[in-house]
């Protein structure tokens, strides 16, 4: 048992084809240049996955990168990034999750785990303090993820596991990797990559401990970080209601994905999904490692057809995906979440293809004969049946398991109902109801149609007015909020105009993407009270005290920018085109209960974003100067 400073200090490489293990030291320049988590993943995937690799073939590389500050008491430092080439987008696939997997992997001795090749038979990986074994998975292959976890946790008390369910085994393209029972690395189909490798689970049990470089100052900084987070006006609401806070404002902005983005909101939305309804079904909160918010709810359904369900749930994105996208009841959303977890499926993508199928059924593109049943929006039983069919690739479910984009190509007349960007299904937010930094971020996101890689740290959900269409969003806070935002002054002045009370979407998008990248590299959570109050200044202090590597706020942001550019370069090498950064056609042709998008205006703000990134404004490619500046030439 070795005591490590900040980092565990080692990278574990497992080749499943050769049944071969290799441990290599974590180089210092990797830590300085890429920090950890998503940074390590970006570098490793870029270097090791050749252009044109089949995402479900043996040459794809699946990387688990633990955030640099995971294993410390820094508030919310719990998160691990998983990346590979995505079977959904064919681009950089990546997903982030908290809980206790990362701290265990690091305490077992590894900052990153790199999985290559393809096993001929189902296996699982057991990683304990210093020892690594590839073991036969006959006992758990074919089991849903909860049943498999029960077996593994019984066998290895105190261990954590990342594993796939039947969806991953069946290579459902949007299968996810479950992170213990209720969490997941959900987006971009990483569970299908793991399933294709015939790797059922990664079990980790680590006990060796991690030490800060300077204990006293690290404790002081972590305490200061806690006070900062608690002082955010977003803290109390998030502590009480978690992410479900966003369900009502987006409904009132007509910015929900109601019935496959046909309408901005459902008529009874307020009654069925409001806070009191959430309170009725929930009791208590659950936290990830070192979190001081505990946004997750413990849910218990006490009556009705889903009576007896008890689980961690009521996270806004899946709940709204099923509730508004498919028109399901709140109780059925909990059932869908249970199935999503057990089967190991990305709930945003699953709900999106289910909503797509319901719209195709409603419009006669597919029939009850093809489906085996009628599929109307709001029919809980039929929706859950379809979800089951998708996970097991039965009937039409087999085609829908390919994801909206491919299913749209395979089903005649289906393409226009596929709500995706770059092959990844869009989450609940409709840019026609509210165009913000978040909306632009879905177009510029390296992983496709997704809202979690760009969010204005001082987004104001009280307002939805937009006098300067597509260019700005309303700032809406006072001078004190402006001053408290940790952003270099010259940039802040450009990003926020206090007099006009606006935030510049292009400039803020670039800042928010880099900031979130920094969080995902250090393993800190992006929940609003954290993103609002924790900036590069305190993160630089914490990183330096934790690892002993002197890094300034500017250097951290530069590393975050480097990581973003590496992921973008990976995408370009895989053939991403400028015109791929586009919302589904419906958004430009129908108003969806709000207003149609103006394509020219969006092209204009995209150009501004590329300029803010130092990229070529027409093509959206990193310029040679930028590549040189970041040391990527």
């Amino acid at each position: 048992m070795r005591k490590s400073i900040g980092y565990a200090g080692l990278i574990l490489e497992v080749d499943l084809s050769e049944q071969h293990l290799r441990v290599r030291e974590l180089p210092d320049d990797m830590c300085r240049g890429y920090l950890g988590g998503i940074g390590f993943n970006a570098r490793i995937v870029y270097d090791q996955v050749p252009a044109g690799t089949d995402p479900l073939g043996p040459d794809n590389v699946l990387v688990f990168g633990v955030g640099a500050m995971v294993g410390s008491p820094f508030p919310t430092a719990s998160r691990t990034e998983v990346s590979a080439k995505s079977p959904m987008t064919g681009l950089f696939g990546t997903s982030n999750s908290g809980m206790f997997f990362g701290i265990q992997l690091k305490n077992a001795g590894f900052d990153a785990l790199v999985i290559k090749g393809q096993s001929p038979t189902p296996v699982y990986l057991l990683i304990e303090d210093g020892s690594v074994n590839i073991l036969g998975a006959a006992e758990i292959w074919g089991q849903d993820s909860w049943a498999a976890l029960d077996i593994l946790k019984n066998k290895y008390p105190g261990a954590e596991a990342a594993l796939i369910g039947p969806a991953g085994e069946n290579r459902v393209r949007f299968a996810c990797i479950e992170n213990s029972y209720y969490d997941a690395w959900a987006r971009t189909g990483l569970g299908a990559v793991m399933g294709a490798k015939k790797l059922k689970a990664i079990v980790v049990r680590g006990r060796q401990g991690l030490s800060p470089h300077r204990t006293d100052s690290f404790i002081e900084i972590a305490w200061k970080a806690r006070q900062l987070i608690e002082s955010s006006p977003f803290f109390q609401p998030f502590k009480s209601y978690g992410s479900m806070n966003a369900a009502m404002p987006y409904g009132s902005f007509k910015a929900l994905n109601a019935h496959n983005f046909n309408r901005g909101c459902l008529p009874d939305w307020k009654e069925n999904f409001a806070r009191n309804k959430v309170e009725e079904l929930t009791k208590g909160h659950i936290a990830c490692q070192s979190c001081i918010i505990a946004c997750a709810h413990w849910v218990e359904i006490r009556e009705g057809p889903y009576q007896g369900l008890k689980m961690k749930d009521m996270e806004v994105t899946p709940t709204v995906s099923f509730g508004s996208g498919c028109g399901m009841s709140l109780e059925a959303c909990v059932k869908a979440a249970e199935m999503g977890q057990r089967y190991g499926m990305d709930m945003v993508s699953a709900a999106s293809v289910m909503a797509m199928a319901a719209e195709m059924f409603t419009r006669g593109t597919i029939t009850a004969e093809e489906l085996g049943y009628e599929l109307n929006f709001g029919d809980d039983v039929a929706m859950l049946r379809l979800m089951d069919d998708i996970a097991h690739r039965r009937g039409l479910g087999d085609i829908l398991a390919e994801g909206a984009k491919l299913a749209g190509q395979k089903i005649a007349g289906g393409e226009e109902y596929a709500m995706h960007i770059k092959g990844l299904e869009m989450p609940m937010i409709d840019p026609r109801g509210r165009f913000s930094t978040w909306s632009l971020g879905m177009l510029t996101n390296v992983r496709g149609g997704d809202h979690l890689r760009c969010r204005n740290p001082i987004e104001n959900l009280r307002y939805n007015e937009n006098k300067f269409a597509y260019q700005k969003e309303r700032f809406g806070f006072d001078q004190k909020m402006y001053e408290a935002l940790d952003m270099p002054d010259h940039l802040k002045k450009k990003a926020i105009d206090l007099e006009a009370d606006t935030t510049d979407i292009a400039i803020m998008s670039r800042w928010a993407e880099d900031l979130i990248n920094l969080f995902n590299a250090l393993g800190v959570c992006i929940r609003p009270p954290v993103e609002h109050k924790i900036g590069p200044t305190i993160l630089a202090e914490a990183f330096t005290a934790w690892t002993g590597m002197e890094m300034t706020a500017e250097e951290l942001m530069c590393a975050a920018e480097r990581i973003w550019n590496v992921m973008k370069l990976f995408n370009l090498r895989e053939g991403e085109k400028t015109e791929d950064s586009r919302f589904p056609g419906r958004f430009y042709q129908e108003d969806g209960g709000a207003v149609k998008l103006d394509e020219q205006q969006i092209t204009r703000v995209l150009r501004q974003y590329y300029q803010a990134r130092g990229w070529e404004p027409d093509s959206g490619r990193p310029s040679p100067e930028k590549i040189k500046e970041l040391g990527l030439d």
Binding site: R207, L210, S211, T215, R226, S290, K310, M311
Partner: protein
């Protein structure tokens, strides 16, 4: 002892930050295994139970200790293990009815909560109020008050 470590199970959300801070201040390393306070957690069932030293009036850990390493500090009343005198027999670990007393596999000695000499860091860092430190009587009075407020809002 006028103040005691007060633990309310239903307030714990299972963040385990108490384990991180406890092991860090005592051992200079963040390690659940070396933490004096431990959170028993069943994720599937959704419960979290922080367990620390109850500072028993008749401590069995002291009674079974053959070397005199485990004993009550006459000044503070805190039950502590003097690692210099500990012979590593693990008797206190086995005798503790709460699974609290523990064994350091590197130092080969037993360890337990020392209430940070009267300023327990687990209580300071616990943000939910599941772990607090104060006089029992005041805490009970507060609980009764909360009950009264529930009945007469």
């Amino acid at each position: 002892m006028s103040k005691v470590l007060l633990i309310e199970y239903d307030k714990c959300v299972g963040c385990k930050n108490c384990e991180m801070i406890c092991s860090l201040v005592h051992e200079g390393t963040c390690s659940s295994r070396l933490s004096r306070i431990r959170v028993a957690r069943d994720e599937r069932a959704g419960w979290n139970i922080p367990v620390s030293c109850a500072m028993c009036e008749e401590p069995i850990c002291v009674a079974v200790c053959p070397s005199g390493a485990c004993g009550r500090d006459p000044n503070t009343g805190i039950i502590m293990i003097d690692s210099a005198r500990c012979i590593g027999c693990r008797q206190c670990v086995m005798a503790c009815p709460f699974g609290h007393a523990n064994f350091d596999p590197l130092k080969k000695t037993a360890f337990k909560c020392d209430l940070c000499q009267g300023d327990p860091q687990c209580a300071k860092w616990c943000w939910t109020g599941a772990i607090s430190y104060g006089p029992l009587e005041e805490w009970l009075a507060q609980k009764r008050q909360q009950l009264a407020l529930k009945l007469h809002p």
